[in-house]
């Protein structure tokens, strides 16, 4: 029988401190107050003073509320019964199903040994030319979508999830608007994907501490399916900025010295511990992570997108409903785009380079300068590029997109104006109809 403690000596933010013995770091406890029962986790020990973060928040906790230590860290049931279920950030069912208790596994486990990883090798086709052609998504990649409030990032996330060839989809929602939660659930349902999905959802109205656990729960479930059932798992996390803000809140409560705009000094390590769970195994499944990071004030140098960018394998910028070609990057594309089609890289590089020149011309034009012959070609090209490649409604396979790329180039330029080497030109440059 575990001891029950009644003496809470400090309540500050969502952190309470009790005097107790024989408590382990990271251990869970139950806190019973007049508002009901909440889980709490040990985050600091000093002598017999134990600090706990209370998942449901500290509101309503009395100095004599009951604290009972459970002698175990946070766990999740590792079983196939997870599929089709929806849970809250504390791991309780959100749907009307029963709680699960089979094969409980620890969440937030250790890192994969780098020696067990393999070089990513499989492209994930999405039907979005800005992704497939220019920044190919690769199995086991961790990739954020950098965006700002109001952009259709959740729609993009859902569309990629539905079109990607994966076995299991796991959604981790942090600070989701209730509407967005319903949107994801309905989209999964409409496409018949609910039965191969697991959702961990923390909505904007839920206690803030629960937000912190969502990525760990989602990724522990992903690791279970990838290693025990050899499944290809796609994890969707939205919105990681809310997760970081929760970290900040707890850090400030714990009186940690902030490093940058109030965020704790270990923000990078905290994010990396989650994102690095993306992996591909030689003899088991894989985990791919797509995460939304909203940039406060559309500022990419804000600590959250900045630290994220250093961890993830590229990023997609979603601006004005389009994936921006500049800044967007898939670091793993080199692993796969040499095996798609021989002209893939050339089309990718050339089209982006010319689009960059188009942007410069556009600037000149807006300042009222006379347009040269070359400028006019670029203007024509830029407009075509935006309509045929960047528009998010375009939904074509990679090969079709590459052909369209050559067609666009040939409509606008002479071959030697493109800077493509002669051999490639001879092979791929579209022949003139009447030549």
């Amino acid at each position: 029988m575990r001891k029950i403690y009644h003496r809470i000596i400090q309540i500050s933010g969502n952190v309470i401190t009790v005097e107790a013995d024989n408590v382990a770091n990271g251990e869970l406890a139950e806190v019973r107050s007049e508002r009901g029962l909440s889980l709490a986790q040990v985050i600091r020990l000093h002598g017999n003073r134990v600090s706990l973060q209370v998942f449901a928040g500290s509101r309503g906790i009395a100095t004599d509320s009951e604290v009972r230590f459970l002698g175990r860290p946070m766990r999740l049931s590792g079983s196939e019964a997870l599929l089709g279920r929806i849970f809250s950030g504390s791991g309780n069912p959100r749907d009307k199903g029963a709680p699960l208790s089979d094969n409980m596994i620890d969440i937030g486990g250790p890192s994969v040994n780098p020696a067990n990883r393999i070089i990513p090798r499989n492209m994930i086709r999405t039907g979005v030319p800005m992704i497939d052609v220019f920044n190919t998504l690769v199995e086991s990649q961790k990739l954020p979508i950098f965006s700002v409030a109001g952009e259709p990032y959740n729609e993009l996330l859902a569309r990629i999830a539905m079109q990607a060839e994966v076995d299991i989809i796991i959604l981790g929602g942090m600070g989701l608007k209730y509407d967005d939660y319903l949107f994801f659930r309905n989209t999964l349902d409409e496409h018949g994907a609910l039965s191969r999905a697991v959702m961990f959802v923390h909505t904007a109205s839920d206690p803030i501490v629960e937000c912190l656990l969502v990525p760990d729960l989602a990724l522990a479930a992903a690791e279970y399916f990838a290693t025990e059932h050899d499944k290809r798992v796609l994890v969707l996390l939205t919105d990681m900025t809310n997760f970081c803000d929760s970290l900040k809140e707890i850090a400030i409560t714990m009186e940690q010295i902030p490093s940058n705009r109030g965020y704790p000094g270990d923000l990078y390590s905290q994010l990396a511990a989650r994102y690095e769970k993306a992996v591909d195994f030689e003899d088991a499944g894989s985990i791919t992570i797509l995460a939304v990071t909203t940039m406060p004030g559309d500022d990419v140098t804000h600590p959250v997108p900045d630290n994220t960018g250093y961890i993830t394998e590229g990023q997609f910028y979603l601006v004005n409903g389009r994936i921006e070609p500049f800044g967007s990057l898939s670091r793993l594309k080199q692993q796969v785009n040499n095996r798609t089609r021989a002209d893939h890289r050339i089309v990718m590089d050339t089209m982006i380079r010319l689009y960059a020149e188009f942007k410069e011309t556009l600037e000149k034009q807006s300042m009222g300068f006379r347009m040269s012959e070359w400028d006019r070609k670029l203007l024509k090209y830029g407009a075509l590029f935006e309509a045929r490649m960047m528009d998010l409604s375009v939904n074509i396979p990679l090969e079709e997109a590459l052909d369209l790329g050559w067609k666009t180039l040939a409509e606008c330029f002479e071959p030697e104006e493109t800077g493509i080497n002669t051999q490639t030109l001879q092979e791929f440059w579209p022949k003139k109809e009447n030549a």
Binding site: D21, N22, V23, A24, G26, R44, L45, H46, G47, P73, G109, P110, S111, V112, N113, P114, A115, N116, R117, I118, I119, P120, S140, I257, P258, S259, N260, G265, D266, Y268, S269, A272, A273, Y275, E276, K277, V279, F281, V300, T301, D306, N307, G309, Y310, E313, G314, L332, Q334, D349, A356, K364, M367, F369, R370, S372, W374, E416, G419, N421, T422
Partner: protein, 577 residues
């Protein structure tokens, strides 16, 4: 030394910091082990003593540790094992071989599991070289074993002070590393020498005669570096840049193409996937200089971002200590640290938990001296036997927000000899490697005489000025002579500064080839062109660019290479008035 190890009891836990009450003697920076209820031994380092309480940074997760848990002090500083068998290894920051951990623990790392860094069983063929009775100092060789393509010297341990006389030497034969191969006496005591020695990572190995000025260029086969911003053997350089600017791709190119003996890759707090590429590719890739595989000259120290943060701090020191060990054998070592910012962040995390008064951006006030101390471990040295060896350090820096004003970049710039600024604008325009030609600088000698490089630099600078001016007055307001300068600088950028790392030929441009191509480019840059129309000039340079790009992609001295050169000569002649 037979007494029991001092012990203590855990009194507090805050993240990876554990406070311990102790009653015996403890040593700053000694290694201690926290013993958990599940019989795990968590390696830690003592980093502060206050009264009868010591603070340890634990190299593992502290989940499950309780107040009252036992702590064992080892009395030894954090050290690495040095001996034959280091090459081709993949270690974590504490020198545990990762493939061996994988065999024992499976997919995931397991805390509290530590493995010998070197193979105890493997036999090495030892050939004695010193004479009995010879007078030796620390770092002098007594014999050697072949390790891959190198003669791995077995040296008098670096910590032995003063003069030693060799009293006994084993005969030539096959031995494992723990075998005593020699004995030496300093007149007071006789000690045994085996093939392996340990050295505390945070203390530089200084068993050399003197440090020398680095003058010989280290050829990296990256044109913009070797020609414009060169690096010297024994020098230091840094590659700061925002994310996505190509730091890691550049480091990989350096690790593959650099003309040095040994490359040590310290993947410090960065993505695991990047290490995996090296791990899986290097055993397959040929090293054109030796005919062996690239992995044969490589050691990987890998403490990636999701591995414990305190071990990340140690990994930088582990790698530079191993580099110093090989330098002592008269070899040229290149240490690639990616990224020193993650190391600095690890320092920041620890400093925060110690509740030290923070400096700028909460980095500790002593950041600068630690950064300087690290880079100062590079250098070209004269060894006791008269030979020389070098360590060249390249540190990637990941400045927050891509802003070079931040503390880590600034303290790095104070101590390096070459600065390769990676720029987001160039990366966005796909101008790789995205080293900015106007912001970067180097204090070392180029493979091409400076007066020639200076001419090219002037073209780049004036080309940039014209470009800026054109943004204001437009192309039509620019005189054609200025416009041609602009075209020349764009041409130089496209065919020489930019280089395709993913192309088998273009990725490696040797010194001789650089000299030849650069001479030809200089012809173009110095030529007086006469065009009537700007469009005419533009299309001429576009054609010229085409020829040079084809040339860059042609294998060195092949038929194709010579044909391309001819086409360029013809194109250049056509414009003669």
């Amino acid at each position: 030394m037979n007494e029991l190890k001092p012990t203590g009891k855990v009194t507090g836990i805050n993240g990876n910091m554990v406070s311990v009450a102790f009653s015996q003697r403890v040593i700053q920076n000694e290694v201690a082990y926290v013993l958990t209820g599940d019989n795990e031994r968590l390696k830690s380092e003592l980093i502060r003593v206050r009264g009868h309480e010591a603070d340890l940074q634990v190299f593992e997760s502290t989940n499950g540790v309780k107040v009252g848990d036992l702590v064992e002090f080892s009395g030894e500083l954090l050290s690495v094992e040095l001996g034959p068998g280091l090459l081709t290894q993949v270690y974590d920051g504490l020198q545990n071989p990762l493939p061996e951990l994988a065999k024992q623990a499976g997919y995931f790392l397991k805390r509290g599991l530590y493995v010998y860094p070197l193979d105890r069983e493997r036999k090495w063929h030892f050939t004695p070289s010193a004479e009995i009775g010879a007078s030796l100092t620390a770092g002098c060789s007594v014999g050697s074993v072949p390790e891959g393509i190198f003669q791995h010297q077995i040296m008098l341990p670096f910590g032995w002070n003063g003069q030693w006389k060799l009293t006994w030497l084993i005969e030539e034969g096959e031995y494992n590393i723990d075998t005593v191969v020699a004995k030496a006496s300093n007149g007071e005591e006789e000690r045994e020498i085996s093939m392996v020695q340990t050295w505390p990572v945070k203390v530089p190995i200084s068993a050399y005669q003197e440090k020398m000025l680095p003058v010989e260029p280290l050829v990296t086969q990256t044109r913009i570096i070797d020609t414009f911003f060169p690096v010297a053997k024994g020098g230091t350089f840094c590659t700061p840049g925002p994310f996505g600017a190509g730091k890691t791709v550049l480091q990989h190119a350096l690790s593959q193409r650099s003309e040095v003996d040994i490359v040590i890759v310290a993947a410090c707090g960065e993505r695991a996937g990047e290490v995996v590429e090296i791990l899986r590719e290097f055993p397959r890739l040929d090293d054109p200089r030796t005919g062996r595989k690239l992995i044969d000259r490589t050691i990987i120290i890998c403490n990636t971002s999701s591995m414990p943060v305190a071990a990340r701090e140690a990994s930088i020191y582990t790698s530079v200590t191993i580099a110093e060990y090989y330098r002592q054998m008269g070899l040229h070592v290149l240490l690639l640290a990616d990224s020193t910012s993650r190391w600095a962040q690890a320092l920041r995390e620890v400093s925060g938990r110690l509740e030290e008064i923070p400096g700028e951006e909460a980095f500790p006030a002593y950041l600068e001296s630690l950064v300087a101390g690290f880079y100062e471990r590079a250098g070209l040295v004269q060894l006791p036997d008269g030979g020389s060896g070098s360590i060249t350090i390249c540190g990637a820096v990941s400045p927050a927000g891509g802003n070079f004003e931040e503390p880590v970049t600034q303290s790095t710039l104070k101590v390096v000899g070459s600065f390769l600024a990676l720029s987001r604008d160039r990366a966005n325009a796909r101008r790789y490697p995205a080293i900015h030609p106007l912001e970067s600088w180097s204090k070392y000698n180029s493979i091409i005489p400076e007066e020639q490089v200076g001419k090219a630099r002037r073209i780049l600078r004036s080309g940039n000025e014209v470009d800026q001016m054109m943004k204001v007055v437009g192309e039509e307001g620019t005189p054609i002579s200025d416009f041609i300068v602009y075209l020349k600088s764009e041409f130089l950028d496209a065919v020489y500064l930019q280089q395709n790392t993913f192309d088998a030929v273009d990725s490696g441009c040797g010194a001789d080839r650089q000299k030849q191509v650069f001479a030809k480019i200089l012809l173009v840059l110095e030529k007086n062109f006469h065009f009537n129309q700007k469009d005419e000039a533009r299309s001429y340079f576009q054609r010229l660019r085409q020829h040079f790009i084809d040339w860059n992609y042609a294998p060195w001295q092949s038929e194709e290479y010579k044909n391309c050169e001819q086409r360029i000569d013809q194109a250049l002649q056509k414009t003669h008035d």
